[in-house]
Each structure stands twice: as C-alpha cells, then as structure tokens.
Amino acid sequence: MSSDQRSTKGTIVTGVIGDDVHVIGIRLMEYALKQNGFAVVSLGPLAQQKEFIDAAIESAADALFVSSLNGHAELHIPGLRDACVEAGIGDILIYAGGQLTIRRPDWEQVRKRFVDELGLDRIYPPDVNPDTPIHDLESDIGARRAGKSRKETA
C-alpha cells in the first residue's frame, strides 16, 4: 500500500452488480465518498464480479461498494467473497446496498444471508443516508490499519 493512498482516507471500488442498471444511488454514494476524502474507482452499472476484483487489485482498494436494486442481488453477489479470496484480496471490505431482495423480508434474515452466509462485511437498507456507511467505513478501515500497523511493527 503506497503512502500516497494512506494520505487519503482510502480507495473504494464502486459499481452496480450483475444485470442491474440502477445507477442513481451509487452515483450519489460516490459523490458522498469523494466529499468525505475517499478515492473512488467507479465501474458504473452492469459491473461483473471480475471487474470489481480487477479494479480492486489495480487500485489496491480498501473496500468494494456493491450496489444492487433490481432484485437480482441473490443471483449476482454469491461467490464474490470466494472470488476475492482466490484473487488474493480475501480480506477486502465488502459493503452492499440498494434493494437487495425482491419484496421486503425481515431485515435480520437479509443480514444473515448476505453477511453471515455470503461473507459481506456490511449491508444497508434502501433508505440509508450516505453518512452511515461512510462512518462505518472510516471505523472499519481505521481498525484494520491499526491492526495491520501493529502487525507490521510487531
């Protein structure tokens, strides 16, 4: 990780996954990320898992911001964590947001599926204010860097 990137708060790869074109939400998210001092690598709509991973490796990203609204998250998000592991970036933060399900099952159920089973770090409901994930991101990145530095200096 270059010291250059350390001076920003972190680098985030953003995109709308799979066969999904709902791009407005992630555009707003990108704007908020930049406003808050993050570097953003934007994939836009219809982004495939491989594109996320390639971009993350290339930019040494801290996190993936995966958006999905069209109800097909269940078709396109499974396997993403494993593919990251395989590509050697297994511990990258993965957040997802938008509208992750068709209709609205109980949120705890959704969290269980995407976080516990599919290995994402955090997921958000549609009405989330951009500040919330950004706040979480800051503390998650902070914690990891602290952990890593400890490891490095140890």
Binding site: V23, G44, P45, T101, P126, D127
Partner: protein, 494 residues
C-alpha cells in the same frame, strides 16, 4: 447455443432507411437461433393467431378505439417469473383492477441475454413455488406458453422490456400474441446499458420495428410505447419529447404506425399539463406533418413519477392520485401506473389492482373537466416547451441530414442530446437540472443542448427566484434534495 452470443449483422452504415428484406431475413435467422425457443416462431402462424382473436385484444387497436371514443386507458406495471404467477397477475389486474391493457415486464437476465441463467432461475422458481426473477423470462417460456398467457384475459397484453437487445424476446412475445412493446433505442441506450453504442441499439430496435412492419403487412397492427429519454430524477419533458419524436420517426420508417408517447410526471402541475399537450402537438407536427406519416396514430400516456417512491403506501397513493389528476387535466390518453408499492419492491397483484382503482376514481371524477386549466401559465409553458423541442429536433435533424437515426447518434455524440445520471458511457453527462421554487424542472446547466435563448433565460430567472427565496445557491446538495423530495413528501425541500 451459447448465451453470450450477441447477434449482429455485418452492420450497414447507420440510417433510418427501411431495411431491405434480405437484411432482415438474414438477421432474423441468426436471432431465432440464439435460443431453442426461437425455433417455434413462425410469422404466418403468428399473424393467423393474432387475426383469430377479438379486435380489442390488440393494443394498437385498443389505443385507436380509445382515442376515438375519448376513453382513458389504464395499464399497471408487472412481471413475475412463472407462467402460473404471471397468469394470475394479469387476470387479477384485469378483473379486479379493471386494467385496459395488461403488462408483462421481462426480467433483466433476459434483457441482458442471459437465457441459461434465466432458465435456471425459472426452473428453481417453479420448484420452490417462488418468483426469483424480477420479471417474466419470455424467451425461456417460449411461444406456446405465451399464447396461453395472453389468452387468459380478454384485454390486450403489452410487453415491457428495457434492453438494448430486444430482438428474440420480442419475436417470442409477438408470436405468442402480445401486440405491443415498450421502446426504443434512445432511452434504452442511455439508461439500460453501459457500453452498447447508439448505432448498435438503433439497429437492434430497427429489427423490432421492421418486424412490426412485417406484421402490419399481414394485417396485424402492433403498437409501440415510446419512452424517448429520461432519468428517473427530475428531468425536462422537452428533451424527453424531442427523443420520443426521434424514436417514433425511426420506428415509422420501418413500418410501425401505432405510437403511445410518454409524458412523465415531474410534479409541477403547470409544467406537467403543458408537457402532455406540447409533446402531442410537436409529435403530430413532425411525424404526421413534416415526415408525412399521415396514418400514424399518436396517443400520449401520462407516466407516473418514476423516481424514488416513499415506502409508505398511503403516501404513495398521494403520488398516484396526483399523477392521475395532472394527466386528466392535460387530456392524456392513457396512464402507465406505478403501484403504491413501488417504493417497497415488486408489487403484490392486490396493490396493483388497488392502484388502478384509485386512479379510475380520479379519472371518473375528472372526466370532461379539462377546461379548468386553460390558464395563462400553462399556455406560456406550452409555448416555451414547443420552441425548445423544435430547436433540438431541427438542430439534430440538420446534423443527420434529415435522417432521424443518424440525427440521434450525432446528437448524442455532440452533446445536443444529453442527460444527467446516465448509465451509458455514450452520454456526455454535461446537462444538469434542478427544480425552481414551484418545483418546475429547469436547466441548471444545459450543456450543449440547443435550448433557445428565450427559454434558457426564463429557466435561469426561475432558478434565481428559488435562490433568492431561500437565500442559498443551487448546488449539488440541491440536486440531491430534488431527487429525494417526492419520496420524502414534498416537491421542493427548501
């Protein structure tokens, strides 16, 4: 039979000219071979099937009839995975909701030609009794199942598919008895794809339009619902209208004749009423007048607000009914109705029916009440909107030397047509809009769109009034606020 094949002919140069038969037939053979159900598509058999059904089970005929008799048509959105589910859905909205035209929205795997993945999800849905896709995978269902579907109701079925690769799905849909499809190349390039170029999308949709031409030659009229362009955020209906005209011209050149043009609710009543009327007048002028398609039947549908909705259904009723009123005041011919569960997820059929009932109540109460809004502000807005649409159309048609297909491509390339928040890389994204103090949509930055100086000046003045009123500049945060305002319960959130 690999799903990733994206069939393309040895693409001739872009032009709106009618395809010659050999080009169409060659292309058609390739298209029908991209998935096994293509083999069941037979044009003569399909035309015979259409002709065997009652006249008003045909969308184009129903729109023509409604226009003549002054009836206002209602169509909900809706598409689920399984044949059983979709049959139940359209039956319910037709009988309980009184829909005049029923929809079948196609899932987005199909829209992106992922037929194998759609097949898997369809089978899993059938096994689990669930609806795992966000629409009806019509290619996987095939012709026979689609015929079963359309015969389940005595109202016509419109296929709804936002895609840059419509060909096979449309072939199956028409052969299955559907008699209209949502179109076309401009909207779907800008908003439903990332990399696909305009020439490619135009060619893909010209295929559909030519197919409609073929059906017409066999005595079967097929309709088009024309989207033009739009962003699901506040957006000028003028740009939308100009693009509707271009899409209509491109389609008419291949033989299509029934067009329902969108006019979208943005929220300011004066502007929304003016929008319906201005788009109607400009479209008739260019399509029936200047380009001479005198037998084209043009109707205007009032599309509901298509940005973010509140999750609260009671509040969504507010939007739905407000939309109905604005359409009635403007004399819209049809309502395309987002359900009151739009903000929640794919709606239950009951919500779809309830939404239609609420709209029908407003339509019933307002029938014949148009006179009420012959107001000066509306007439002024209509005048400005027509000025602007004419300016855009004339400029791009000049660029394209009178050819609407080339006009479209060059218009985008040079930024004369443009949108904010585009999905597509082929949009310049230079234009930016905001609401004025009364919520009317105005250009904050018109980019390179040839908006006449008088119009631009008026828009600037309107925006300045908002800035003065709230003593704060219109900035990015304002644009964000304007995207969320309706879902949060107001039009202007200052």
């Amino acid at each position: 039979m690999n799903e990733i094949i994206r069939p393309r002919g040895a693409t001739p140069p872009l032009s709106a000219q009618r395809w010659d038969d050999s080009r169409f037939d060659e292309e058609r053979a390739k298209i029908l071979a991209t998935w096994k159900t293509g083999a069941d598509v037979d044009l003569n058999d399909a035309a015979a099937f259409h002709r065997s059904r009652a006249a008003l089970t045909n969308v184009a005929r129903k729109r023509g009839w409604a226009k003549q008799t002054g009836n206002v048509l209602l169509q909900p959105y809706g598409g689920v995975t399984t044949l059983a589910g979709q049959t139940e859905l359209i039956r319910h909205v037709a009988t309980e909701g009184g829909a005049d035209i029923v929809p079948t929205t196609i899932d987005s795997q199909t829209r992106n030609l992922k037929y194998a993945a759609a097949e898997e999800a369809l089978r899993a849905s059938e096994r689990q009794g669930a609806e795992l896709l966000n629409g009806f995978p019509i290619v996987n269902h095939g012709v026979a199942s689609t015929r079963q579907l359309v015969q389940a109701v005595d109202v016509p079925v419109e296929m709804r598919i936002g895609t840059v690769f419509p060909q096979l799905a449309v072939e199956v849909g028409f052969a299955g008895g559907m008699s209209s499809v949502t179109a076309g190349p401009i909207y779907y390039t800008a908003h439903y794809s990332r990399d696909t170029s305009l020439p490619e999308t135009i060619a893909n949709w010209q295929y559909v339009f030519r197919l409609i031409g073929r059906y017409a030659e066999l005595g079967v009229p097929i309709g088009l619902q024309i989207h033009g362009i739009g962003t699901s955020t506040p957006f000028p209906n003028t740009l939308l209208g100009a693009c509707c005209v271009l899409e209509t011209l491109i389609a008419a050149a291949q033989g299509a004749r029934s067009f329902s043009l969108d006019a979208r609710l943005m929220g300011n009543m004066v502007q929304d009423v003016a929008g319906v009327r201005a788009i109607r007048e400009v479209a008739e002028d260019y399509v029936c007048g200047r380009f001479g398609y005198r037998d084209a039947v043009i109707t205007i549908d009032r599309k509901s607000w298509s940005g973010r909705y509140p999750e609260d259904m009671a509040r969504a009723y507010g939007i739905v009914c407000y939309n109905a009123m604005s359409g009635m005041l403007a004399g819209a011919n049809e309502f395309i109705a987002n359900s009151v569960q739009e903000g929640v997820g794919i709606p239950l059929k009951e919500s779809n029916a309830d939404t239609l009932k609420a709209i029908r109540q407003v339509v019933g109460m307002m029938k014949g009440q148009r006179a009420g809004l012959q107001a000066e502000p509306v007439e002024n807005e209509i005048r400005l909107m027509k000025l602007e649409m004419n300016a855009i159309l004339d400029a791009v048609l000049e660029l394209g030397e009178g050819d609407p297909a080339r006009a479209t491509e060059l218009g985008f390339r040079h930024g004369l047509i443009d949108i904010p928040f585009a999905a597509s890389r082929h949009c310049k994204n230079e234009v930016m809009v905001a609401r004025d103090a009364e919520g009317a949509v105005r250009y904050l930055d018109a980019g390179r769109i040839p908006v006449p100086p008088e119009v631009l000046k008026y828009h600037r003045a309107c925006l300045e009034r908002r800035e003065t009123g709230r003593r704060r500049k219109i900035d990015y945060q304002t644009i964000v606020d304007d995207i969320f305002s309706i879902s949060r319960g107001c039009l202007v959130n200052d």
